[in-house]
């Protein structure tokens, strides 16, 4: 372990970590309920993952193996930066491989590989209140949650259908947790919503700027809001990943130098694992596979 001199393991002092863990325990006990906590000022900017970082820091032990992804990728600058932060302040092992990680901190995606009961997924959350765009006053939304009065959201979804013929929410798609609390799943694409449901992994959500944590305990029901005649559906692509030929992953559109487009897995570890296993897509041949 080679943690940063002058700072505690994983940056936060132990009393602060304990305070956050207490809030997390409450969050686990009341699935989907937003628990206020004494969010600290972190040395990374608000809105860049301070909630997720505080949650990760407070549950992290020296034996843990951490994976950090942003947009599904370990290589985006923000993911690199957060991984470096924990490398510097906690000095523990990190990995790119989903199955090797005991804690995965993520922004905007859930890994494609199914998680197991020994893993914890930590989401970075910009706006924890699912109704914030419909009702910005927290004093009001808190009351609506207390009464389980989610008509506001149902009316919004209904108005989408009336106007466009379908629900026009594609990410941060609202879910009902354990049949009780309406919850913002963070800005993951709705493609990832089914992975929230009955997940064997503990899922923790941290909103640093808004000073809230919430949780989905393992094996918890998570339903995406819909209507009987307009059931929830996820995005599908007609062609597979151009690099690994996967047909079941979320694809990013990449604009090529010549002006063309190609579609590749947003989950870089999933894509690379498949390529290493010999899968090739339309844009590469086995000799050109790069890790």
């Amino acid at each position: 372990m080679n943690a940063l001199p002058g700072y505690n393991f994983a940056y936060l002092d132990e009393q602060t970590k304990r305070m956050i863990r207490r809030a997390l325990l409450k969050a686990v006990a009341i699935p989907g309920y937003q628990v206020p906590f004494g969010s600290r000022e972190m040395p990374l900017p608000y809105g860049w993952g301070t909630g997720g970082i505080q949650v990760t820091a407070s549950i992290l032990g020296q034996e843990d193996v951490l994976k950090v992804i942003d947009q599904g990728s370990d290589d985006t600058t923000n993911a690199v930066n957060i991984r470096r932060f924990f490398n510097r302040t906690a000095g523990m092992a990190t990995t790119d491989r989903t199955e090797e990680a005991s804690i995965i901190q993520t922004r905007h995606r859930i890994p494609e590989k199914p998680l197991n009961e020994n893993q914890i997924l930590v989401f970075q959350v910009p706006l924890p209140e699912p109704m914030t765009r419909l009702e910005p006053r927290e004093a009001v939304t808190r009351k609506l949650h207390a009464l389980a009065d989610y008509g506001l959201m149902h009316v919004k979804l209904y108005e989408d259908i009336a106007r466009y013929g379908h629900i026009a929410t594609t990410y941060d798609y609202p879910v009902l947790v354990n049949g009780r609390y309406l919850m913002a799943p963070s800005p993951i694409p709705k493609f990832d919503n089914p992975k929230l449901h009955m997940s064997p992994a503990l899922q923790l959500f941290g909103a640093g700027r808004e000073k809230r944590v919430y949780a989905i305990p393992p094996w918890t029901r998570v339903e995406s809001l819909d209507f009987e005649d307009h059931p929830f559906s996820i995005q599908r692509w007609q062609q597979p990943c151009a690099l690994c030929d996967a047909e079941d992953s979320f694809l990013d559109e990449v604009v090529l130098d010549g002006g063309g487009r190609m579609f590749v897995c947003s989950d870089s570890d999933y894509c690379q694992t498949r390529q290493a296993a010999g899968h090739t897509g339309s844009e590469n041949t086995p000799t050109e596979v790069s890790a």
Partner: protein
């Protein structure tokens, strides 16, 4: 062959070095010292200490140097450092009547006990660029008066209070311990002590603009600057093992007491009400803006109609913090590929269906044939 973007880590490390070089500038120009910043950029230091919520001139000067003069960045640096500091205790409430005044003005009384003290102020400098400052010069000698100022000067609001012309300010029932916003989240409704704490850490520009809006009719505000005072106040703590107060040092503060009209209600006769502002260092603009906003936020308590942004506590208090605001606005720089892809896909679908309804087989720009579709 397409290769995904890699090398984020070396790019980040290179950005550190580029930034350090840009911060230093031309190496032929002597490097700034912290003492220079602290002495000659003292108002910048004051603002960083105030909004950084840490009274330490050296660290604030260091933050300003590291941030190349960017105040909000310097405030962020100081806040992030502050979080890691242990908390030894809480001070005894300061008494601004005991302030060693360097400036004290009242816009409501021509003369008053303790007198008007103009002090060091830009107010009457006529704002002509002083080209002599372009070169270094000998240090000016400040004027001195023979007679020292009185050790304590009553606050204007105290003078009005003796007559019962202004509302009395009393602790809330039971004198509850105030919330510590650096340890506990802001909750609504927020009491006045919590609101003032939030405003004291708030962005000067934001409070200035909101305060200004109340003067221009966006809230029912008729303020008088009852008193503005600036100077040094002793800071005392009561160590548990001693049981009595000891002075641990002094801090510079600027306090503003705004006096506002109030028509009275069925329970309360017409009287003046207060708006309060307090800031570290010489921060007159900040403390005045704060006092205007504080008064506007008391609308509900005083039974005034809430019509304007400056009166809406949740709106005002949720957006004061420039570290939060700067972070969240600038997080838009982070990749949003996944969400954008989802929106792009939806937009193409919507355009395709509206084109089908309209012009039939018109080509839709940006849509690739059968690139994607959504399955029900």
């Amino acid at each position: 062959m397409y290769v995904a973007v890699k090398g984020g880590e070396s790019a980040i490390l290179n950005s550190y070095e580029l930034l350090a070089a840009e911060r230093r500038g031309d190496p032929d120009v002597p490097e700034l010292t912290l003492a220079q910043i602290r002495q000659q950029m003292r108002l910048a230091v004051d603002r960083v200490m105030g909004e950084g919520s840490l009274y330490d001139e050296d660290l604030a000067a260091l933050a300003l140097k590291q941030a190349a003069g960017d105040q909000v960045e310097a405030i962020f640096l100081l806040r992030a450092y502050r979080t890691t500091l242990p908390r030894f205790g809480y001070s005894v409430p300061i008494d601004t009547a005991r302030m060693a005044l360097r400036r004290r003005i009242s816009a409501t009384f021509k003369d008053l006990p303790g007198g008007q003290v103009l002090g060091p102020t830009y107010d009457y400098t006529q704002r002509l660029l002083d080209f002599s400052l372009a070169d270094t010069a000998d240090a000016p000698t400040p004027p001195r008066v023979d007679e020292p100022l009185p050790a304590t000067s009553p606050r204007v609001t105290d003078l009005l209070g003796e007559e019962g012309m202004i509302e009395a300010e009393r602790p809330a029932a039971g004198d509850p311990a105030p919330t510590d916003l650096s340890r506990e989240p802001l909750r609504f409704p927020a009491n006045r002590a919590t609101r003032l704490q939030n405003l004291a850490r708030g962005d000067e520009g934001y409070l200035l603009a909101l305060g200004y809006s109340t003067q221009r009719g966006y809230a029912n505000s008729h303020p008088f600057a009852g008193e503005i005072r600036m100077g040094e106040v002793p800071l005392e703590i009561i160590p548990e093992e001693l049981g009595f107060a000891i002075t641990i040092g002094q801090i510079t503060l600027t306090e503003c007491q705004m006096i506002n009209q109030f028509a009275g209600s069925s329970d309360v006769p017409p009287q003046f009400t207060r708006g309060y502002g307090l800031a570290f260092g010489e921060s007159e603009r900040k403390s005045m803006g704060m006092a205007l906003v504080d008064r506007a936020l008391r609308a509900q308590e005083l039974g005034e109609e809430i019509t304007s942004p400056a009166q809406q506590a949740e709106f005002v208090l949720s957006h004061t913090d420039n570290v939060e605001a700067s972070g969240f606005v600038q997080h838009l720089k982070l990749p949003h590929y996944v969400d954008f892809q989802s929106e792009l896909e939806l937009l193409r679908k919507m355009r395709a269906s509206s084109a089908k309804v309209g012009a039939g087989d018109t080509a839709i720009p940006g849509v690739q044939p059968s690139a994607e579709r959504e399955e029900a």
